[in-house]
Structure formats: structure tokens, C-alpha cells
């Protein structure tokens, strides 16, 4: 079996050049190298960026001189370059649009293109693609020669793309893919049309996870009509109902399947539609949900129901829910809304910008981000300051208290006015000058009204309250902090 497979691949490689007609899409005519210098912010020292690093990957050329890449490649881009593989010619580009949840981004030329795209053939998206099919993974050799690896598309599932805990549709394919491009995020092609972006490849099992063409089209359609909407969130947890004792308790004896709704986020899709804790969703748009939470998709077969509420749905779309509630059946329309990263107490991800912060005479206040906690390393859930990790895990408790963001004192830059406060760090701020603090803007506002020239800053933990001389802090902000710590930007409120 194995010798046969390698023989087959060898034949295909040998036959590469005649495979592509002169006027058809081909790696050389429809794929570009994309070089991206990325420079994330430093979440511990939010006024500065980290050391820049360069990623090299491949992008699929689309109509309108757009190049499709993954968001993973586009993150924190400060300089973007398109490169023709054969000639090595380069063109400065820029990120046009990026969706970190869908892990897609488009690059467009930054200025006049000249004849850079002359003779290039953009790829159409094969949005109707279904398993089973044979797909080609496209790469370039170092010398610019095309490398084509055929893989067999045979399975559909929901899995995370780039961010954890965000599940979207993936195509799974098997077959050998050689490692040439320095990355496994590669264009996948079917019959001369873009069939997806390869997300990751398990070389031991020879299994490739592919971001499917349907998701690519929805992203491109969204980009084409501003403003960009993204994907909706249902705003509740869905639990299986296999447990017969649970079913009996929920009075589900006369119906089959269904998903139990719990943990409804106030103010989002499920809540606004009037869905209640303990409701059981029996069908979505007349597609019956089984007790594991799967439905039979007309295109893809058995699929997790989350697809109908997220990756497979548009923001603002209405879905029809059949719900069992206390023994009776209700039909409830639900408009799917989006929960943006800013709508969370703690931004679940942050790219291309740094956290909002404010320095008061050396006291460094920030809005909490997951990136900050991740500074504690791989084991950050155990190692980062527990109070802050707990806030991240129980955000809704804080949102219910009316908080919008979590402002905390992340540390102290020792300065003349801060004697005695040097060791304070990672303290959640509750109020400043007796005004509640729900974001850094509140903080900036509250700092306009000290009492008798002294700011009062209250924390949820030891030492609970400190006082800072307003005039001294202003002076230190003007002189000491910029001079000694070389910080030019003392706050970022937007």
C-alpha cells in the first residue's frame, strides 16, 4: 500500500506541468507568497510593542486583486508583502479585512500595482463543494516551482479554527502533503476553484483539517458589503439530553432528542428571544436536533447544531426554534445577534491593538485582557493571578453588577509620589474618588475630581484603599515617568 501511494504521488508530480492549461488557474498564476511582519503589543508594558517577527505563507488570488490568507497569518501585521513565486517580484500590500474567529483575512495592494498581476488568473470559490471529492493542496518549491498534493475529502465536523473554544465547520481530508511552504495554512483547490484553506495537517495520520469554501464565501460576501458583520452568537450553553432520568424530569417522554439550554447571557440572542434556562430546543429551522446535539444537514450529513446558530448563520438572521418547556411545545423565533470581543468583560482575544491603559504618576492601570493573563505562560490558568483568572471565568457575575470592563492596577513604576506602593500589583479597581470604575475612560474621568488635591483609589483586595497626591502624580507624569521609563504614551483610552 505505501509503495503504491508514493509511486502515485511521484507520477503526479512528474505530470505537473501539463496539468495546467495556459488559461486555467494554476499555482503559478493563482497563488502568491505572502510575507507578513507582525508585531504584537506587549500586554505587560502596554505602551510598547514586542520584537517584530516575520511569517511567510501562501495566499489564494481572488478577483479584484485580493489575496486570501488565514487570520492566524495576518495577526498584528505591521508590514505586508506579496511575492510572485516564480519571479520573486514583490509588492507592498495591506490587510483589507480580518476575522479572527473565522480565521480569514484578505490582503490588497497598498498602492499602484503596475503590471504585478498581469497574466494572473484569480480563483473562484467552489462554494457548492461537498464530500466526497479529490482536492489539491497547492504549494511552491523554494525555486517557485509548483507542488500539488492530492487529498481525499471524506468527512465534515465542527472544530476550532485558530481561537480555542470557537467551533466552526471543517472539512477533513486524508492524503500525503509534503511540507514545503514553511506553513500548513495552504490553499486547497478543486476543479480550478478555491475549495478551502488547509488549517493544520497531522503528518502521522495524514489527516488535513480544511476551512471549507462555504465559510470563505460568507466571509468574502461580508467583506464586500460594509460594515463587516462577522458571525452571530446564541448566548447560551447547550447540553445533551441523553440521560433518561434528566429527560423524564424535563417531561420529554413524548418527544425525541433536544438540547437543554443553560447559562443564558443577558442581553444576547437567546435571552432577547425569550429563551429560558431549562428550555429544550427540539429543532432549529425545522431541522430536528438529536439528544447528542446533532442534526442531519442536507449537504453534510450529521453535524453539531451549533453550526446552525453560528458559522452557518448570518448576524441578524432569524431562526425558528421549536422548544419544549415544562411539558408543552413552543415555536420561538430567535434573531441571532453578535457578541463582539468588546462586549465581554475580558476581551477573549485582542490583535492589532494594545489594551486600554492609563498611567497615574507611575501607577499602571489597564483593562483586563486574556492576553495579559497569558503572559504567565502555557499554564496561565493555574499561574496567572487567581483573582483575575476567576474574573475571566465568571464574567457574567461582573456584567450583572453593571461592570463593562475590568480595570485593574497591573503594576507600579516606582516614582517619587508612590512611596509605599511599590509592591502593589494585579488589584481590581472598584472606585476612584468615590466614583465606580467600569472602564479606563471612567478612570480618566474620575481622576479629574480629587478631594483636597488627593486621589482616593479603592481595590477589591488588600490594601483596599490608597491615596495619591494629584499634583505630584501630574508632575511625575510630566517629568519623571517619561524621563526615567522613556514612556511617551501615558494613556490609551480608545
Amino acid at each position: 500500500m505505501i509503495p503504491f501511494r508514493s509511486l502515485l504521488t511521484a507520477c503526479l508530480l512528474a505530470a505537473v506541468s501539463p496539468l495546467f492549461a495556459d488559461d486555467a488557474a494554476s499555482p503559478a498564476r493563482s497563488m502568491l507568497r505572502v510575507n507578513i511582519t507582525s508585531q504584537p503589543y506587549n500586554f505587560g508594558l502596554p505602551w510598547q510593542k514586542q520584537n517584530p517577527g516575520t511569517r511567510r505563507g501562501l495566499g489564494a488570488l481572488l478577483p479584484g486583486n485580493r489575496v486570501l490568507i488565514t487570520a492566524e497569518m495576518a495577526q498584528d501585521a505591521s508590514y505586508v508583502e506579496l511575492e510572485a513565486a516564480a519571479s520573486g517580484r514583490k509588492l507592498t500590500g495591506k490587510i483589507e479585512a480580518v476575522d479572527y474567529e473565522l480565521n480569514l483575512a484578505t490582503v490588497i495592494p497598498a498602492a499602484d500595482t503596475g503590471d504585478f498581476f498581469a497574466g494572473m488568473i484569480p480563483l473562484a470559490v467552489d462554494a457548492a463543494l461537498k464530500p466526497k471529492a479529490t482536492l489539491d493542496v497547492w504549494q511552491f518549491e523554494a525555486n517557485g516551482a509548483p507542488v500539488v498534493s492530492p487529498i481525499e475529502l471524506n468527512r465534515v465536523d465542527l472544530a476550532p479554527y485558530f481561537l480555542d473554544d470557537q467551533f466552526f465547520l471543517i472539512f477533513q481530508a486524508t492524503g500525503g502533503v509534503q511540507y514545503r511552504a514553511g506553513t500548513f495554512t495552504l490553499p486547497v483547490v478543486h476543479d480550478g476553484k478555491l475549495a478551502g484553506m488547509l488549517l493544520r495537517y497531522n503528518s502521522r495520520d495524514q489527516v488535513a483539517d480544511i476551512l471549507p469554501p462555504g465559510i470563505i464565501s460568507r466571509f468574502l460576501d461580508d467583506v464586500a458589503v460594509p460594515p463587516y458583520e462577522g458571525t452571530p452568537n446564541f448566548g447560551a450553553k447547550l447540553n445533551g439530553t441523553l440521560d433518561p432520568q434528566l429527560r423524564s424530569f424535563l417531561k420529554l417522554s413524548d418527544v425525541e432528542g433536544g438540547m437543554l439550554v443553560t447559562g443564558i447571557t443577558p442581553g444576547f440572542s437567546a435571552d432577547k428571544a425569550g429563551i429560558k434556562d431549562g428550555d429544550v430546543i427540539l429543532s432549529i429551522n425545522n431541522l430536528t436536533i438529536d439528544s447528542r446535539g446533532y442534526y442531519n444537514d442536507p449537504d453534510f450529513g450529521l453535524l453539531a447544531a451549533g453550526h446552525l446558530l453560528r458559522g452557518g448563520a448570518k448576524v441578524g438572521a432569524s431562526v425558528q426554534l421549536k422548544v419544549a418547556r415544562d411539558g408543552s411545545i413552543l415555536n420561538i423565533p430567535c434573531t441571532l445577534l453578535r457578541r463582539n470581543p468588546e462586549d465581554y468583560l475580558v476581551d477573549p482575544y485582542m490583535f492589532d491593538r494594545g489594551p486600554r491603559f492609563l498611567i497615574l504618576g507611575g501607577l499602571l492601570f489597564q483593562e483586563l485582557t486574556q492576553n495579559y493573563l497569558q503572559l504567565a505562560g502555557r499554564e496561565w490558568r493555574d499561574r496567572a493571578p487567581f483573582r483575575l483568572v476567576y474574573a475571566l471565568g465568571n464574567q457574567d457575575d461582573f456584567l450583572k453588577q453593571g461592570r463593562h470592563k475590568l480595570v485593574f492596577l497591573s503594576g507600579v513604576l516606582p516614582a517619587p509620589g508612590l512611596i509605599g506602593y511599590e509592591r502593589l500589583r494585579n488589584l481590581i479597581v472598584t472606585s476612584v474618588n468615590n466614583k465606580p470604575i467600569n472602564d479606563v475612560k471612567d478612570l480618566a474621568e474620575a481622576l479629574k475630581s480629587p478631594t483636597d488635591g488627593i486621589h482616593k483609589i479603592e481595590f477589591s483586595d488588600f490594601p483596599k484603599v490608597i491615596y495619591v497626591d494629584a499634583a505630584q502624580a501630574e508632575l511625575d507624569n510630566k517629568e519623571f515617568v517619561p524621563a526615567r521609563y522613556r514612556i511617551r504614551e501615558l494613556q490609551r483610552l480608545d
Binding site: 434528566l246 423524564s248 439550554v261 434556562d277 509620589g417 488588600f462 483596599k464 491615596y467
Partner: protein, 507 residues
Amino acid sequence: MKPSLRFLGAAAAALLPASLSLAQLAPPPQAPPADGEKTTSLGRQYEGIVNIECNTLEVDYRTPWNPATPGGGSGTGFLIAENLFMTNAHVVSDASRLIIRKVGDPTPYRARVKHIAHDCDLALLELVKPAAAFSTVEPLKIAEEVPKLDTTVKVVGFPIGGERISVTRGVVSRVDYQEYSHSGADQHLAIQIDAAINPGNSGGPVLQDNMVVGVAFQGYSGDVAQNTGYMIPTPVMRRFLKDVEDGKYDRFVDLSITHFPLMNPAQRKALGLPEDGDLGVMVASVDSEGSAGGALKTGDVILEIDGHAVESNGSIDIDGEQTELAEVVERKFAGDKLALKIIRDRKPESLEITLKGASHYLMQANRYEQQPQYVMFAGLVFQPMDKPLMTVAAPSSLRSRYWFQYFTTDELYRDKPQPVVLTNVLPDEINTWLREFSGQIVEEINGVKITRLKDVSDALQKEDGSSFHLIKLAGEGRPLVIDRKQAADAQPRLLQKYGLGASAYIE
């Protein structure tokens, strides 16, 4: 003071009992001749220092219904009065049998614990049958004062490295507050010395001018810090001895506040103090059920404690020695009064506080001599949250970890004095869909709010006309549903299958 300092310290100091295998004593040599004057005084000086062999029973909180596992260790003790030996609590904790051995006498003397103080790691033992061999032994005398820095001390005991009595020598390196790692949740005065203290030295006397100036009790292993041993100083020993005079040990009292140094001029000014002064600390938090609850509040400034001026770093002067303001409280007993001079809302005030022990923090302290409590129902094992449980079960649930860490700080005990955790699900057909739910705190059973383990068994016995038991876990929307009839059938099957003698043990 306890809560604020409990989480400090990079590496916990290790306790020092020797394992039994290292300390199996061969018959010691014959006693020195009685008439050799020099050797006699040396011999008599150490005669009151004894080896203590302790057989223990260790319980496993993962299987709280199981009988304990036998183990053991050895340490040192010393005679302080007729048939009264002092040692460390950790040398004799969880004891099933205690043997005392005297230098120059092969006889094993059976002993028992008379008083044990886990919060300051001290214990008093007595022989089950007073022995004539000890009648001529002179008890060791406890010094009045804390030894001065850089003065020489000797540590005497039965550490690893040999079987006979050992003497090491060093100086007093530091006098400071330390966490006592036996309880893991208490801080008291401790004295650091550079004499070698090794496993087996625990409970032995530290001597200066033939007087006991401390009890050797903990140290760092060589890869953390060199030549760093700690002894329990005489104020702590004396307080323990005074506490048990009434026949029982009542534990230390505590002000149950945290305080913050007042170094910052703006802070001093805002609180109504002279900016350039060096007196006063700010009260940061007050445990509302502690001694100072209702009396002190956040933002108060403590200027004087029992007439001792409090410096801005929290230190006071007692008999010419700089020490922490906590030391005044450390030497007092439940019911004693404490006089405070404070500044509140920029005005001076005087307060009198009646002291009592703090109890909620014990949830976060190591436990001894305790049979673990549990309720097993339909394969679901419920246990009260405490330190030994959290150590072995280590639930990954953020909420459970929060409850354990912030139980006193956030006064969570007001809501649930004894939080109950669903620790385990013993597999059976009745709970086949419930196995993923362990590690969470139990919020409610059959409509009854669960605030302590007793509530679990009461709620499960409650008939509410429903054919289900309904269990709600904190932070988990999906209820655990158990059919009442099936549960009744399953209980004997589960007890038999998993070897539980009883469905519950509740104190």
C-alpha cells in the same frame, strides 16, 4: 494579620520528623558513671531529652470511608515537669501509639498526648504509667526571654544520621514572624538559627546557658536555603502552657484584620496624620466575624496598641525589642481586652476590643486527628471543603478554587459555613450520565440550600412529592436528576460494590 501573610513566602519550610525506618534505635550505650563529675553534669543535662516514636494512622480523603493507613515517624521531646514532656504537635499528630525512650535506658515507655496545639505546633505528652526511671530526672527549665541575635545556642535531639543523641551548635540568626507549616495557616514568632536541624530534631530543645530557649520545629531543605532552621521561641511555649492550665487548649486569639504600612505622604495626609510622622498603620480589611468585627473598619489608623506606639511599618517596641504589632495579641487569651488608639475619619478615638479566636480560617488549615466526613448517595460522594480534601482532590473548577482561597477574605462563610463539594461519582447504572460533574460545589438539593454537609443528608431524606432528587451545582445550569426509587435500590448495591461501611459519616 494571619490572612494577609498566609500566602507570602516562596517555599514552605518543611517539618522535620524522621521516618521510622531511619530512626529504629539500637539499644543505647550504658549510662555514664555516676561519680564522674564532668560527665555527670553533661549526662544529667541531657537526661530529660527523650526520643519519641510515633505510630500514626493516616486517612485518605479520596476514600473517606476507608480505615486509615498505618505509618510512623520519630522525633524528640523533653521533660518540663513531673511526667510532662513537651514536643511538636507534628511529631505526635494522628498517633495510634507513642513510645518514649530515654538516653541510656533501652525500655520503651508508652506515652499519650495530654494537650496538642496544631496552630503553634506544640504538644504535651505524659507516660501512660509514670516510670521510676524518670523520677530522678531533672526537668529542663524554660528561659524567660527571647535569646539575642548572634548569641550561641545548642540543638539537642535524635535526628537522622545516627542513632544516639546529637548536639549541634549555632547562633540566633533572625527573630521574625514565620508561617508554621504544620497548620499551614498560622503565623507566629519564630527564631531562625544556623545550627544544623535535621529530620528527627523536631520537638527537641534548643538550649542556651542550660535553659530551653526554643523548640526546634522546621527548616528549609538545602536546595532552598542553607543553614536555615527554625525554633518555636519561649513566648509561644509559655502561652501554650498557660492556655492549657485550665485543662484544655483554646488556640490563639486573633484580631483578624489586615493592615497596610503608612509610608506615603498623600495617604498619611488623607487619613489625617502628619505627613512626615512615622507612626500609624492603616486597617485594610476587617473580618466582620473576628475580634475586631464591628469595631475597626477599612481606613482606620492604628496609632497605639495596649499603650505600645505603632510605627508606620507595623512594628512596636516590647521591652526594648522591635516586633510586629501582632505580638501584643499573640500573648493574650480569649476574653482578654485590647486597648487601641486610632484615628477614624481624621479624628482620634479609643477602642477596647475583646479578643477571640478566629475559626473560619481553619477550613484552609491542615487537619489532624480527624476522620473525614462524607455522604455517599447514588454513587455521588459529597465531602466538606477543607485543606486536606483540596490537597488530594485538587478540583480544576475555578469556582471551587475560589471558594477555598477566598473563604475568609471574601467572607464566603457567611453564605456557606461548610461548603460541600461533589468530589467523586462511583460508577453505577444510576449515575452513568453524571460522571463529568465532580469537583463542583453543591448549591441546592431538593430545594434545600446546602450550607454544610449535614444539609446534604437532610435534604436527601426530605420527601417533596416529586419522584426525583434534584441536585444543583454552583455555576452549572444542568441539574443532576436522580430517580428516587432507583436511588433507593442502588444504595445497598453501591455500598457493597465499593466497600463502604456506611452511607455517611457526619460529625
